[in-house]
């Protein structure tokens, strides 16, 4: 009993009370940050997944890349100003995608002699999935389905830096400065990559779009 009374006394000293006060304030700050991060991540997660999916052409790898980027952003940059989160997040994501692409290239060289099937092969060899749907949907929807397929294929075939610049600028809506920050290059490089990506896509999609 005495021990409890003594500890109670220790906790109620001014120093400990001030620590408790600081902790309460820290809790509130943490809750605010957590809420802001949640909103931010929810607002970018789908587009981030599409970017990763187009870069990696594999849904599981894309999900891993997005989750990894989320983890790293929260772990290392949650204390940074909110307006810095987007370019930071996309920079982490871009690095993750690039690392996965490199690992895949190395693995591909090593395993080149094995008959490896990937998602593209699956699509090619599945006539049912390729068959047009029997449901008579609206014409607009069908047109969009076709446009999505053609555009995503064309974007996926762009060189990595052009693809990155195009998706960050056109899809995610980052400005030139933010895109440069996310890509880790100069604004001039961003403009060049973006311009070339647009030219390449126009050449491929001109008739469809």
């Amino acid at each position: 009993m005495t021990a409890f009374v003594t500890l109670g006394g220790v906790y109620s000293t001014p120093v400990i009370s001030s620590i408790f006060g600081a902790e309460r304030s820290r809790d509130q700050e943490l809750m605010t940050t957590s809420r802001a991060l949640d909103q931010f991540l929810a607002s970018v997660e789908r587009r981030a997944f599409k970017i990763a999916q187009l870069g990696l052409r594999n849904d599981d790898d894309a999900l891993d890349a997005v989750q990894d980027a989320m983890m790293k952003l929260v772990q290392s940059y949650s204390a940074r100003p909110v307006e810095e989160w987007r370019p930071l997040f996309y920079r982490i994501l871009a690095n993750g995608i690039r690392d996965m692409q490199r690992r895949r290239t190395v693995r591909g060289r090593i395993m080149a002699w094995l008959p490896v099937r990937d998602a593209d092969d699956d699509e090619e060899f599945d006539p049912i999935a390729q068959a047009p749907s029997q449901d008579a949907g609206p014409a607009k929807r069908l047109e969009l389905d076709e446009a999505i397929g053609v555009l995503e294929l064309a974007v996926a075939e762009l060189p990595p830096r052009q693809q990155q610049a195009f998706l960050l600028r056109n899809f995610e809506g980052l400005d030139v400065n933010e895109t440069a920050s996310a890509m880790g290059c100069s604004e001039g490089s961003v403009k060049t990559h973006y311009f070339r990506a647009l030219e390449s896509l126009r050449a491929k999609l001109g008739e469809v779009f």
Binding site: I16, I19, R46, L63, Q67, I148, L151, F171
Partner: protein
């Protein structure tokens, strides 16, 4: 920044549509990924110092006790040499030289014996 061309607007519209059509499984996994990332905010060593308070208090009490016990100003000297010095001090009260007192002590001792 120049205004986006029709081609840019069209590609953006198509990509947005594509992102909006993600299947339930993918959306669910994205939500899980987000929650897993946010859970890290709760993990840093919060309240770590609370577990050290009882140990800290005990250590402080021990240190205080040791300091008080080892402080020589607060306890009597145990050295016999110091006692002898006190007795030999010329400024100390003299119990022996006074003849009246000696006679009184002899009388008191005799009274106790009888």
């Amino acid at each position: 920044m120049t205004d986006p061309t029709d081609f840019e607007k069209r590609t953006q519209e198509v990509l947005d549509e594509s992102a909006g059509r993600l299947d339930g499984h993918t959306r669910s996994r994205l939500t899980q990924a987000r929650h897993a990332a946010l859970a890290q905010l709760e993990q840093p060593a919060r309240y770590w110092w609370r577990s050290y308070v009882p140990a800290g208090a005990a250590a402080a009490v021990t240190v205080l006790a040791v300091v008080m016990w080892s402080n020589p100003a607060d306890r009597p000297s145990a050295s016999p040499v110091e006692d002898m010095e006190l007795l030999a001090d010329s400024d100390a009260p003299d119990f022996v030289d006074d003849g009246d007192d000696l006679e009184f002590y002899e009388w008191a001792a005799g009274e106790v014996e009888t």
